[in-house]
């Protein structure tokens, strides 16, 4: 029997995998992909709780999270292109101009 807790657990697993990707990968494109994983984990949670409370608010919020994810991906990838044009790199640990 699939209960609400299974969906929340799946969301937690996806969140952890996404966070691990953000913390460990060097390629900034893959970093942005990991952010998408984290946002999807949030959406699964919102919809699971929205269903168990019989409230459509969860789905509405998931829709707004989706719009946020789109905006984040567009701006993030544009920044990435600008970075690559200036620095010739997309590796996170080579972008350290603020450090000396």
């Amino acid at each position: 029997m699939i209960a609400n807790v299974h969906y929340v657990a799946l969301s937690a697993v996806l969140l952890v995998i996404g966070t691990a990707g953000i913390l460990t990968r060097r390629n900034l494109v893959v970093l942005l992909m990991s952010v998408e994983l984290v946002l999807n984990a949030v959406n699964i949670n919102l919809i699971a709780f929205g269903r168990s409370l019989h409230d459509d608010g969860g789905q509405i919020f998931a829709l707004f999270v989706m719009a946020d994810a789109v905006a984040e991906a567009a701006v993030g990838l544009a920044l990435l292109i600008a970075l690559f044009r200036n620095k010739e790199t997309v590796l996170a640990d080579e972008v350290d101009s603020l450090r000396w």
């Binding site: 998408e36 699964i44 019989h54 997309v90």
Partner: protein, 169 residues
């Protein structure tokens, strides 16, 4: 029974795709893993009766964001980063911490019953999911909806300005 089968099938998609996304060497393969994961999430939405969001997930993520990611992967030089190390030097520490936190969350999630607020009785309306979402979006959530559209416009203009080629000055 069928519910459980589809849940575990979609969960396999989601988790395997996510693991592929964070571990594959080639960013294009990472994008394919992400596509599998997001499609699985769309299936999970469908299982929970969120049909509109499930279709929106496919259109927005698989149709929009993934194409954007693939374009950027082709624009930036993947050949060079491919040859080098995938993970940052402190990756083992970070992964161990993530595993620890995830294990704790799962342990406490399953060690006691999930307490929920008492369920409000369903309104019993015969409206479909999309109709209810649309009604709620354009009545109670109209202001957030408009703010989201302004956010998307700002993101649109911002990304064009950021990615534009600067004239040599």
């Amino acid at each position: 029974m069928l519910d459980a089968f589809f849940f575990w099938a979609f969960t396999l998609f989601v988790v395997a795709g996510a693991l592929g996304t964070v571990t594959f060497r080639n960013p294009v393969h990472c994008a394919i893993g992400l596509t599998a994961s997001l499609t699985g999430v769309a299936g999970i939405f469908l299982l929970q009766g969120a049909e509109f969001l499930s279709v929106a997930q496919i259109i927005v993520y698989v149709g929009g964001i993934m194409v954007l990611f693939l374009f950027v992967i082709m624009l930036v030089n993947v050949g060079r980063s491919e040859r080098e190390r995938r993970f940052s030097p402190n990756a083992k520490l970070a992964a161990a911490h993530c595993l620890g936190v995830g294990g704790l969350v799962l342990y406490f999630l399953f060690s006691r019953p999930l307490v929920l607020a008492p369920a409000i009785a369903a309104s019993g309306s015969a409206q479909g999911n999309t109709e209810r979402i649309g009604n709620a979006l354009f009545t109670s959530y109209l202001l957030p909806f408009e703010i989201a559209s302004v956010l998307l416009l700002a993101a649109l203009i911002g990304s064009v300005v950021l990615a534009r080629k600067r004239p040599e000055a």
